[in-house]
């Protein structure tokens, strides 16, 4: 018990230090870029006096360390500051954009895992076979094809030609109206909210909108997960305990899916968590093609508008996601691998 508390305390401390470091680095980057945030507020026409007034209002005239102290203090209170561009609370803005990304990334990771692991296992158990080659080529395409291009082709084929799915956006405009005016928002994730409201037509429309981008992201993470599964599994299958199990006459499916998989799962959890975290950053290109209002485009837009508080806020959220997923995968790791519990 005491050990567990100790581990959690160390974990939290690490988390705090990591986040502080993250805040510091992003803060410094935000200040050294040769872009004057004031210019993006006041526009081209402003006089020096108007600019100075805004500078004072934003606290940009204070010493660096003081600006950083204020930033960290507010961040701890859940206040990530005010967006320079829109004048809105950044926490509120991110609360609006993040659910869209979360929904997409989660579905993408589920796709990627459900397809990637069996594909990797298949490839590992029959190395050099046609199945292995197919998994390799499909995986390689997922790695190397630009997401931008894949997205457009996907839209062209599945939406443009075949009419299997709906086009870009999270919902058709009419359903979007229903969602906004007749349903209760619980999470900001349309699939969950519409299901909780029992609005199945909205749910169906949302599914037909999300399938393609989620499938695309799923494909990219599948490519990675299947390659990693293959190599972990090949490694395990060469171990002595596998030979022993086979000699004992254990059925092959049991050898692979129970004995070997138990050990493969340990490093695989980290792989899946990392790939999930990567998708949670928000894939800017996918979001642009599919007109998906997610975190990636939020941060990019903010960056182009020299809206450093918003960039910092978004980066902090991404950082928290990374660190949290890291911790979760650490915990899972302990559960799966008894040695790590000691």
């Amino acid at each position: 018990m005491l050990r567990l508390v100790g581990q959690i305390a160390i974990g939290l401390l690490t988390l705090a230090i990591t986040l502080l470091g993250l805040l510091l680095i992003t803060f410094v980057i935000g200040r050294v870029v040769p872009i004057d945030p004031v210019l993006s507020i006041v526009g081209e026409r402003a006089t020096e006096a108007q600019m100075q007034a805004i500078r004072v209002k934003l606290g940009l005239d204070l010493p660096m360390w003081e600006q950083f102290y204020i930033y960290v203090r507010d961040a701890l209170h859940g206040d990530l500051g005010t967006s320079i561009r829109t004048g809105e609370s950044i926490s509120a803005e991110i609360a609006r954009y993040f659910p869209a990304t979360l929904e997409l990334a989660t579905l993408g990771t589920i796709f990627g895992t459900l397809v990637g692991i069996p594909a990797g296992v298949l490839a590992a158990t029959r190395p050099g076979s046609i199945a292995d080659q197919i998994v390799r080529v499909v995986g390689l395409l997922g790695y190397s094809m630009p997401v931008f291009w894949l997205g457009l082709i996907g839209l062209l084929v599945f939406y443009g030609q075949l009419d299997w799915v709906a086009g870009p956006g999270r919902l058709d405009p009419t359903y979007d109206m229903m969602m906004e005016f007749t349903l209760t928002p619980y999470t900001g994730m349309i699939l969950i909210d519409s299901a909780l409201n029992g609005a199945w037509d909205v749910f169906g429309n949302a599914v037909s909108h999300i399938i393609l981008p989620a499938g695309l992201l799923g494909y990219v993470s599948m490519a990675y997960i299947s390659r990693m599964t293959r190599s972990f599994m090949m490694n395990e299958l060469g171990q002595e305990y596998i030979t022993t199990a086979r000699v004992k006459g254990m059925p092959e499916w049991r050898v692979i899916w129970v004995h070997a998989m138990k050990n493969v799962l340990v490093p695989l959890i980290t792989v899946i968590a990392l790939s999930y975290a990567y998708l949670l950053e928000g894939s800017v290109l996918t979001e642009t093609i599919f007109a998906w209002p997610g975190l990636g485009s939020y941060i990019t837009d903010a960056l182009f508008a020299a809206d450093m508080p918003a960039v910092l806020g978004g980066t902090v959220v991404v950082g928290v996601v990374f660190v949290t997923l890291n911790m979760v995968s650490d915990i899972l790791y302990r559960i799966v691998d008894p040695r790590a519990r000691a």
Binding site: D36, L39, F203, N205, A291, S297
Partner: protein
């Protein structure tokens, strides 16, 4: 188990719905609905007295009205908006507007002269970015209650100087002069913000539409109101969807899921040629492309070098290739559509003439100068073309490529040699561009007058041109005023630190059944209430 069944049902339903999604099957959007795709991530605020971006002003143009409007068919002509008549007193400083009777706001409140006075005062008191369009008549938060007054159905606006009446009227057609519903706005005031926070998500105007929903970076929905003073709009619901990618828009347009696509690239437009379901509507925009030559550098202050450069730009070559459909050759600082705009483009690529001029300059050739360019594909294409042609006349441009804001700081700090820039007018009056290209009262570094492009590039227009520009803004006779701007433009075009090159063009793709869409030209914004299908 219960839960599992529920989930299974959800999945089954989802699969069913995917196959039978009603919008996916529909070939076209309903006849009373208009779906527009555009990039609207430029929006900072949709409060009409704060909005200063293309997309937000487009939105507000359909939700609010101004006292006076511009007639799109006749550049420079004014037509009544919420005011039925207007006049200026003999002193040239007192303007009176008579409000049309019987107009109501979307709330049902009748429009009164008090609403008009409140709106103009609100612009000044809120003091947001576009407020200078109104405050330049000498209005301040302290004096505005005395300068803008109302009595019965008339509103009186006093100015600090006897400006050209057309200047005042043109500024009153800008989006910042939209009239809001005082009672509704003030009922939603928080902490003395005059309803600013509330108007970022709601509307309170006399326009044809009411804002039903606004989601930044996602889109907005406008619903037509009954009893609009222009007559009810044919399109009952307008959906604006934020779709920044041209190729995506093209696909949606071809499928009939959207009616108008506003971010198509020349490649998309070319790909749509021959599709009889779709038409392309061209228009101009207000921006101009120009080179600014820093006069602190002796070579660039040499008039022969300046003239040589004007003959060493491949205007039509760029227009017909890299800028196709996006920019047209335009060598004067007022865009087409403005009072006094010129249609003459005397310069073309003539390297022999340019070389001869360089030889006359007395400089040892070749000369080497820096060229500050923003890192964006279009600008890089233009810069490369110019670098190529300039090299042939003995001017070697050394590119300094950077982020837009970075380049802007170099320019504002007078640290550039030559820079490639665009400029967009702030309000639909010629003074907006004349006051920055042709006016620079104090060219010293200490003046730090970054608001003037002439100052930024260290060019002194001289007392005569400065005076002419100041005189044009107070000239009472509009025809004479137009003449003056024509003259000022010729002087700047032929003898200044600027090389003016292009005016923005735009192409909107739309379904063949859409008619009456007006994109707004260089001086106005998009109107949806004129559309029918």
């Amino acid at each position: 188990m219960q839960q599992k069944l529920g989930f299974a049902r959800a999945v089954a339903l989802a699969v069913l719905m995917t196959g039978a999604s009603p919008m996916a099957l529909m070939a076209e959007t309903p006849a009373d609905t208009l779906v527009i795709a555009d990039a609207i991530d430029d929006i900072v605020s949709i409060d009409p007295h704060e909005a200063f971006e293309f997309s937000s002003v487009d939105l507000n143009n359909n939700v609010y009205d101004t006292l006076i409007e511009l007639d799109p068919s006749k550049p420079g002509e004014l037509v009544p908006g919420l005011a039925e008549s207007w006049s200026v007193a003999d002193d040239g400083m007192t303007y009176t507007f008579k409000i049309k009777p019987g107009i109501t706001f979307s709330s049902g409140n009748p429009l009164t002269a008090e609403d008009v006075a409140f709106s103009l005062r609100r612009v000044v008191k809120l003091n947001k970015t576009p407020s200078f369009i109104i405050t330049q008549f000498g209005l301040t938060p302290e004096n505005v209650d005395q300068m803008v007054t109302f009595d019965g159905d008339t509103v009186t606006l006093k100015t600090d100087k006897a400006y050209a009446p057309s200047f005042v009227y043109n500024c009153l057609t800008a989006g910042v002069a939209n009239i809001v519903d005082m009672k509704t706005v003030m009922a939603n005031e928080v902490d003395g913000d005059m309803g600013n926070a509330w108007l970022k998500a709601n509307s309170a105007g006399t326009g044809a539409y009411v804002l039903k929903s606004f989601k930044p970076n996602e889109g907005y929905v406008l619903v037509a109101r009954e009893g609009h003073w222009r007559g009810d709009a044919k399109i009952k619901t307008v959906f604006m969807q934020h779709i920044p990618e041209g190729a995506t828009e093209r696909l949606l347009l071809e499928k009939g899921d959207i009616d108008i696509a506003r971010e198509l690239t020349p490649t998309d437009i070319a790909g749509l040629a021959g599709n009889t379901d779709i038409k392309i509507q061209g228009d101009v925009g207000g921006q101009v492309y120009y080179l600014a030559l820093n006069q602190k550098k002796a070579e660039l202050a040499n008039p022969k070098v300046q003239e040589a450069m004007r003959w060493a730009v491949d205007y039509t070559g760029m227009q017909d290739s890299i800028l196709k459909g996006l920019w047209v050759v335009h060598q004067n600082f007022l865009p087409q559509g403005f009072l006094g705009a010129l249609n003459e483009n005397p310069y073309s690529l003539d390297l022999e003439k340019a070389k001869a001029l360089m030889a006359e300059s007395g400089l040892t050739l070749p000369i080497e100068v820096g060229f500050t360019v923003r890192n964006n594909p279009e600008r890089m294409d233009i810069a490369t073309s110019i670098q190529n042609t300039f090299a042939q006349i003995g001017i070697n441009l050394v590119m300094d490529v950077g982020d837009g804001k970075q380049g802007l700081e170099t320019y504002r700090g007078r640290k550039h040699d030559i820079t490639l820039q665009t400029w967009g007018p702030d309000y639909p009056d010629p003074h907006t561009n004349a006051s920055t290209f042709a006016l620079n009262p104090d060219n010293s570094d200490e003046a730090n007058a970054t608001g003037y492009l002439a100052w930024r590039t260290a060019w002194d227009p001289g007392p005569e041109l400065n005076a002419e520009t100041e005189a044009a803004v107070v000239e009472k006779d509009s025809a004479k005023r137009a003449e003056m701007y024509a003259d000022i433009q010729r002087k700047v075009r032929d003898n200044s630190a600027f090389v003016l090159m292009f005016q923005q063009a735009r192409q909107d793709g739309m379904r063949a059944n859409v008619s009456g869409f007006y994109a707004g030209g260089a001086t106005d914004s998009a109107s949806y209430w004129t559309v029918s299908k």
